[in-house]
Symmetry: C2
Subunit: 231 residues, 2 copies
DNA sequence: CGCTAACTTGATAAGCTTCAAGTTCCGTGG
DNA sequence: CCACGGAACTTGAAGCTTATCAAGTTAGCG
């Protein structure tokens, strides 16, 4: 991971090395770019960007409805490719949730990787649709946490107990836009899981999983795994 | 189109030429197959099928949750490819909604078509997620009708007035599973559109669009078009 | 030390689901 | 030929879940 400031400091400040970054791409195939939290990487409807690989950080893909309503289509963690689109324009916007590092991918050289990423994205999109259309609120929340733990988790401790922990780069509002819920509902259910001893967070952005089995059970059916998508 | 029986007869009977069809694929790359309504073309979790082209009819892709809840991921009309999956197994099941004709696609020979279909599927899946997560019930219903009209519509008449008409191969239950609603809600909103003079149906499976502009307006924002996906 | 942004929590209300009939349209069998 | 039965659809009433509205809290930052 990048050398990030302590968890609670990550929120919205812009250290000097990020302030100078222009929000939108410079000449194509600039090999690597650092992106500040909240910055747009590309924009829905604009001329299609190149295919990108997230080296580090967290990026969300979004679509917006009348400027007010927003849907997060996917949350992307380190290693994944994004920016795959059909026609001449992007289907969605891409936005960094934290300090992120991306690099352009050469579709010729990495044809297999691109194909793979495309199929993986489709699979995740399908799981996401099932979540949005047919899962209960608790299932949605649990599945989201399980998915983020897989993408961003690392071993950690709560007191002396081992518990997988991850940095929740998304705000409650982002989670709502991902799961088709409101801020308030997200907050209520997260705290319900916390009271139930299934997850823990003192800082609202640092989440630990205390009972992965129960979490998976709550995330509900569909496939073997309760997450949005594993394989 | 195939030579179908009159609209209202299409429902569930099995004419002789379909009764003999085994529901699941015979040896790979059998060039063409006829499928009866309700028949499974391939099954979620089973060994991956070949890539298929729908020559005629209507196919839905579904995922199921605990056997009770079902999500329809996409509704596929003539010309489109489906059966694109990631690992060794299918992500979803494919089911015919009416008498349908499919053929296997050779991914070598049709590489560009397959790539295109893949990107198109992803784009539709993303639009679908935005619909499920952030659109109102009326917007969902209107967008679904507009999408089906594009895929299945042809010029028709209501009385002496020209009105695009399409055969609704989906039941109310299917529509609910597509849009994340119940049968009853789908029925109520369809009838509301009918009372409002925006659509018409006397047979519940034959739908005419009386006011395409109002329908598009009701289908709500997102892109220029109100449908799930055009381009 | 107050300001703002994110988060939490409570009360109310709206919208959808659930439950329950009832209708229509076919196909079947007496 | 008509009565019966099933499947899809429609419609109404009641109940729940979640959205909305409204404070109130916490934590950085100027």
């Amino acid at each position: 991971m990048l050398d990030l400031p302590a968890a609670s400091l990550v929120a919205r400040g812009l250290p000097p090395e990020f302030q100078a970054q222009p929000p939108i791409a410079r000449p194509p195939f600039s090999p690597r770019r650092l992106i500040a939290p909240g910055a747009l990487i590309y924009t829905e409807g604009a001329e299609r960007s190149s295919i990108l690989r997230l080296k580090d950080g967290c990026v969300v893909l979004t679509q917006s409805l009348d400027g007010k309503r927003r849907q997060i289509l996917d949350v992307i963690g380190p290693g994944r490719l994004f920016g795959l689109a059909h026609g001449k324009t992007n289907h969605c916007s891409a936005e960094a949730c934290t300090y992120s590092e991306i690099e352009a991918v050469d579709p010729q050289r990495e044809r297999l990787n691109v194909e793979d990423a495309l199929l993986h994205s489709l699979k995740r999109a399908q799981k996401h649709a099932t979540l949005l259309g047919r899962k209960t609120t608790m299932e949605k929340i649990a599945a989201a946490i399980a998915d983020l733990a897989l993408q961003f988790g690392r071993p950690g401790f709560v007191g002396s107990r081992r518990a997988e922990t991850f940095h929740l780069y998304l705000t409650r509002s982002d989670l709502g836009d991902w799961l088709g819920l409101t801020i308030e509902t997200v907050s209520r259910y997260l705290n319900q899981l916390k009271r139930g001893g299934i997850i823990d967070f003192s800082d609202p952005q640092i989440v630990s999983i205390l009972d992965a089995d129960k979490l998976a059970a709550l995330a509900g059916g569909g496939a073997v795994d309760g997450t949005l998508c594993i394989a």
